[in-house]
Amino acid sequence: MIGDFIATTGRNRVVPAPVLEMHESELGVQAIIDPYARGDFFLSFGEEGVNLEEGYITFTALPGGIVAKGGKMRSAFGKVNTLHNHVLPWIDRPLVSNNLVGGEDGIDDAGFSVTRILPAPKSLFLEATGQVFRGDASDVFKNSQRRDVSVVGHLRGYGDISESTNLDLGISYARGHNDFGSTFLTNLYGVDATLRYKPLRRAIYKSFVGRGEFIWSQRQQPAGIPCAVGACDSGIAPNFQRAFGFYTSADYQFARRWFVGGRLDRSGRARDARIKDDGTSIVLTYWPSEFAQVRGQYRFTRYGAPFETGAPPGKDDAHELLLQLQFSLGAHGAHPF
């Protein structure tokens, strides 16, 4: 069981968060089902109720090196979308995740997934993942009829530059129908890169992770009369919307219990790509032990426009301080990588 308590102060008129919030409590139940499969369930308890974040069976003994999953799961699109809140290197998620990939819930849907390690030159790791989902994922995809399934593909390449340094690259694609109906499609394209450094003799004291993710969204919307930036009905611009967003971040561990990091954000909005939000964050993390974490984050966001319909258009700056207490009970889980 993992608890995630967040306190927020400062000014944010566009996306205000509660001053104190038991943001999420996640219960994980994981076990081997039989000689051929294992099961994983993650239930999240938040202020809005209980949610099955993930619940899937993984077939581990299939021929041909194939690993298959069935159930509800986070899709393999990019990096951040695959991560649960408690393994993020920040308190929040990047603007590009919120604007283009469904935010905290992300592309998390019921479906099937097949992964296989591909043949590659020695010491290069190549892995391909193909997924088919029902087609309901946050505000990204909407299933209006049975055939409105969504698909996700991910190709991962990984190489050890040295025993301490490695590079992880990925390209992703997702396609599904959006909330305007079966004839309106959303396509997402993503590129992610992660550079890790961890000297093995001092692995528990020193590490560096630099990462970046670049996402393009192409969203079909009904044609209509052009409207001013931020003043369209329901915040939706007409016709085909091409939005782009990215984040880059760096995290440095300078002592056994201490980490410092920063993140740069920029993202257009999926429904009106003319609106662009920018952000900067600085993060300081302290680990009392492997099972608890105290994290502070200063976050500056320059919103391109309000989200609410009817709100006056124009940019709005938000300066916020966030404090997070995260703690875990029960069996020792896997370390994130």
């Binding site: 093995l200 003799r201 692995a203 528990i204 032990s289």
Partner: protein, 320 residues
């Protein structure tokens, strides 16, 4: 008639050439066929790899995941390890939750049904060893990162090394019955060499029997038991918890009171606190390797004890 004979020879030559070409292509495309079917063994640590190599000889290809100078609790689950695991016939793990933070996801993602827990190619080596420090009663994290099934650093007792080698030889024979006798013969040879080495090691350590030491982490209970050392304290206040000022003061007082002069530190821990303690107690900080490959020249299971015991003798002699 002669024409028919030549024709037959021509056909035979062409057929042989085709067979050779197919064989060469098969060898090039599937090099594992060419390797006379050696067993591919992956171990979680270098110590298990060294023991597997001892009994497997040239009938096995052995690779370890963790390096000997790496904290085995905190290995990263790198995808490059999946390249080793996907073709493994056997995975040997330390068990007792030592690798719980990194090995289970690697096994799941390997796509290799042979090495899944419960399958014939998965071997938890702890089943063969004498396990110490098995917690009695309720275990909570208030006691730190305690391993509820017992202390997993069991390979540091040569008697456990013998038990592990025997168990691994048995498993190799099970997976490759044709070479079972070979593995048993290799084990018998290892057993003899280990017995000889143990006599030497035990004699060398006899003068220091009962000596008091402090260690950083609880890595050495099996080693201490075998060689008659008395571990009276730890630099960590609790397993996995970094040293605190108050605990360090308590430890300094304990070492002064008990006249403890030798501290055993694993190569992956920071030396600042141990050095500070040593400067206040007149003690000696000894960076001992708990694993094969932890220091240059420590290339096999015998050299691991040769190296550590050599350091220990020097240290005890220097603080007499």
């Amino acid at each position: 008639m002669e024409h028919t004979h030549f024709r037959k020879r021509e056909i035979m030559i062409i057929t042989s050439a085709w067979r050779a070409a197919v064989l060469v292509a098969a060898i090039l495309l599937f090099p594992s066929f060419a390797a006379a079917k050696k067993l591919n063994v992956v171990t979680s640590t270098t110590d298990l790899a060294a023991l597997t190599q001892e009994v497997g000889g040239d009938k096995v290809n052995v690779e370890a995941i963790a390096k000997g100078y790496q904290d085995p609790h905190f290995v990263e689950a790198k995808p490059s390890f999946l390249l080793k695991l996907k073709n493994a016939d056997l995975l040997v793990s330390v068990g007792l939750d030592l690798e719980i933070g990194w090995l289970p996801p690697l096994i799941t993602q390997s796509g290799n049904g042979r090495i899944q827990p419960g399958a014939n190619g998965y071997l938890d080596a702890s089943q063969f060893a004498e396990i110490l420090e098995i917690p009695q009663g309720k275990v909570t994290r208030a006691e730190g990162d305690v391993h509820p099934l017992g202390n997993p650093h069991y390979w540091l007792d040569p008697d456990n090394g013998r038990r592990l080698a025997k168990g691994i030889a048995g498993k190799l024979g099970e997976l490759d019955p044709n070479d079972s006798a070979y593995f048993q013969q290799r084990f018998a040879d290892f057993d003899k060499r280990l017995s000889d080495a143990e006599k030497r090691w035990n004699a060398e350590m006899a003068p220091y029997h009962g000596s008091k030491v402090v260690t950083y982490h609880r890595s050495w209970p099996n080693f201490a038991k075998h060689f008659g050392l008395d571990v009276v304290g730890y630099v960590e206040p609790r397993p996995g918890i970094p040293p605190s000022p108050s605990h360090t003061i308590d430890l300094i007082n304990l070492m002064k009171r008990e006249n403890v002069k030798v501290m055993l530190i694993e190569p992956y821990f920071d030396l600042r606190t141990p050095n500070s303690i040593a400067s206040q107690t007149g003690g000696k900080v000894l960076v001992m390797t708990p694993s094969v490959g932890g220091e240059k020249g420590v290339e096999d299971y015998f050299k691991l004890f040769d190296y550590d015991l050599g350091l220990l003798k020097q240290a005890f002699d220097s603080v007499k």
